[in-house]
């Protein structure tokens, strides 16, 4: 209202003065007006989102399940270059400082170059002096020969000269080493000035703001806040030891991440489909791209039938067969427990710890990388974007554990697009693509040695989600 009052006053004055100052006064209000409008709009959007979230939470508490409802926003998102946006976001979070201090860096770089050239000059001077010393030593040796030939009275002179030579040489070598170290330090300083690091004093403020916005626990961070050079580095921070105690029960499967349980269940009756939301499911084989390792439902059902039939066959054996048979038949081995196929979907919020750990002891045999889209993965997106998990960029690890098959799919999102595998650091994800088509076949790698792959222990760090 004060803004409007000011505007009216200005207009009144402008009309009184014949409109001479209207242009300049009007412009001065244009920027604050636009800023205020933006702030109001963002506030309104945030309030609406909070209201919607509250409604959703209340509905869920009442047991209402949300159905899949595609909307215009989801269609629009398909047209947006989300992969490029994601990479730009990663770039932004890792080079936040370079643009701010670009001029300062250039100035410092000039200074550093001057220092380096001065060091080089010193070195060239030193090398000249070393040459002179060598020539001197040569001359001294010749003199010594002359002296030894002419005068044998001074036998200790040569040894004294030799000591002097060695002393000079050692001292010069030490100084040379020191100059080399100084040059390295100068290069390191230059590298730091040009690298994508936040100023040390600024780092805790940025990370605390992030933690407040996304509810992160900063006390768990392994290092002091000022040691994380960028937001990207802070985002994939490791935790202090014993922050995440691993359940020691050998008969349990642990959570590989910090997150929220979206879905879980078994795939026996519902077929090999996982429900994204009510009314829409996606197939497990499309998610994992599995051919050789994922046991088909026929396999599971066949296994079940074999297990069910086995006791009845034993019952039908006649008395003489039992008498004459081997001890193995009389004392049959207990049947191994039947295996079902289960799944669990865990969602990581931006403030969560973003490293992935091994859920059990297992052997990773195959890795598949699907270079897909990078839709957001929030709750709204799951309700509006079809085939979200199947279309997004992801890395799938497949293998075996003591109970059979095991697969873990790490699915990227717009803000967290790349997945870093600790067992395969060379793997690059969220890279620019040469082809425009989204239906590229996955890149597969079979880990050596064949059949054993990479052994992971329960709780081992496997991968991390990176920003952008």
């Amino acid at each position: 209202s004060s803004f409007l009052r000011k505007l009216q006053t200005t207009q009144g004055r402008a009309s009184f003065t014949g409109g001479k100052s209207s242009t300049s006064q009007g412009n001065s209000f244009l920027v604050p007006g636009a800023t205020m409008a933006t702030i109001v709009m963002l506030g309104a959007l945030h309030a609406r989102r909070m209201y919607n979230d509250k409604k959703i939470e209340e509905a869920r508490e009442k047991g209402v399940e949300f159905e899949f409802q595609p909307d215009i926003k989801a269609t629009f998102l398909r047209l947006v270059p989300l992969r490029s946006i994601s990479r730009f976001w990663g770039f932004l979070t890792s080079v936040l400082q370079s643009s701010k201090t670009d001029l300062g860096n250039r100035f410092r770089w000039k200074e550093t170059r001057k220092q380096i050239s001065a060091s080089n000059e010193n070195i060239s001077e030193t090398s000249t002096s070393v040459d002179a010393l060598s020539a001197l030593a040569l001359g001294l040796r010749r003199m010594e020969r002359l002296r030894s030939a002419v005068d044998v009275v001074v036998p200790t002179l040569s040894s004294k000269i030799a000591i002097l030579e060695r002393g000079n040489y050692r001292g010069e070598r030490e100084r040379e080493r020191e100059r080399e170290r100084e040059r390295e330090r100068a290069s390191e300083r230059a590298r730091r000035h040009f690298s994508s690091e936040l100023p040390i004093w600024f780092r805790p403020h940025v990370y605390r703001a992030w933690a407040r916005a996304f509810h992160s626990n900063l006390e768990e961070a392994a290092k002091p806040l000022n040691e994380y050079a960028s937001l990207r580095e802070f985002f994939v921070r490791s935790l202090k030891e014993d922050s995440r105690p691993i359940d020691s029960n050998p008969c349990c499967l642990i959570s590989p991440v910090d997150g929220t349980v979206l879905r879980f269940g078994d795939l026996k009756e519902a077929g090999t489909m996982i429900e994204q939301v009510k009314g829409f499911s996606y197939s497990v084989s499309s998610l994992l791209g599995a051919r050789p390792l994922l046991p088909s439902m026929e396999d599971v059902q066949q296994e079940s039938r074999v297990q069910e039939k086995a006791p009845r066959d034993e019952d039908k054996k006649s008395w003489w067969r039992i008498t004459l048979a081997s001890p193995k038949v009389r004392d049959p081995e207990p049947a191994s427990p039947m295996k079902g196929l289960f799944y669990c979907v865990l969602y990581l919020k931006p403030g969560d710890y973003h490293r992935i750990h091994s859920p059990v002891d297992w052997n990773v045999l195959v890795r598949r990388h699907f270079s897909g889209r990078l839709f957001p993965l929030n709750e709204r997106a799951t309700r509006t974007i079809r085939n979200l998990y199947v279309e997004n960029e992801r890395v799938v690890l497949e293998g075996r554990w003591e109970e059979g098959y095991m697969a873990m799919a790490a699915i990227g999102a717009t803000n967290i697009g790349s997945i870093e595998l600790f067992i395969e650091p060379a793997l690059g994800t969220n890279r620019p693509r040469k082809k425009l088509l989204h239906s590229e076949p996955p890149q597969e790698r079979i880990y050596e040695p064949a059949g054993a792959g990479v052994m992971l222990k329960k709780g081992d760090e496997v991968a991390a989600f990176n920003m952008g």
Binding site: R60, R244, P245, I246, D247, N249, P250, C251, C252, L253, I254, S255, P256, D258, G259, T260, V261, L262, R263, F264, G265, D266, L267, I274, V284, L287, L288, L294, P295, E308, P311, P337, M338, K339, G340, L341, F342, Y343, C344, V345, L346, L348, Y353, H357, P359, V360, Y389, W401, E403, G404, Y405, M406, A407, M408, A409, A410, I411, G412, A413, G459
Partner: protein, 45 residues
């Protein structure tokens, strides 16, 4: 970001009450879990 786990685990044998090695989830939808916490358990028969 999201992580999906797909795995085989023991299930109960129909008609055999003595073997109770069925895998059971110990979580509910909407639960917050942390690394190292059990998602499910089974009995070692």
């Amino acid at each position: 970001s999201t992580v999906v786990l797909v795995f085989q685990a023991p299930i109960s044998v129909p008609g055999d009450e003595s073997v109770s090695s069925e895998f059971k989830f110990s979580i509910r939808e909407g639960d917050r879990v942390r690394v190292g916490e059990a998602l499910g358990r089974w009995n070692d028969s």
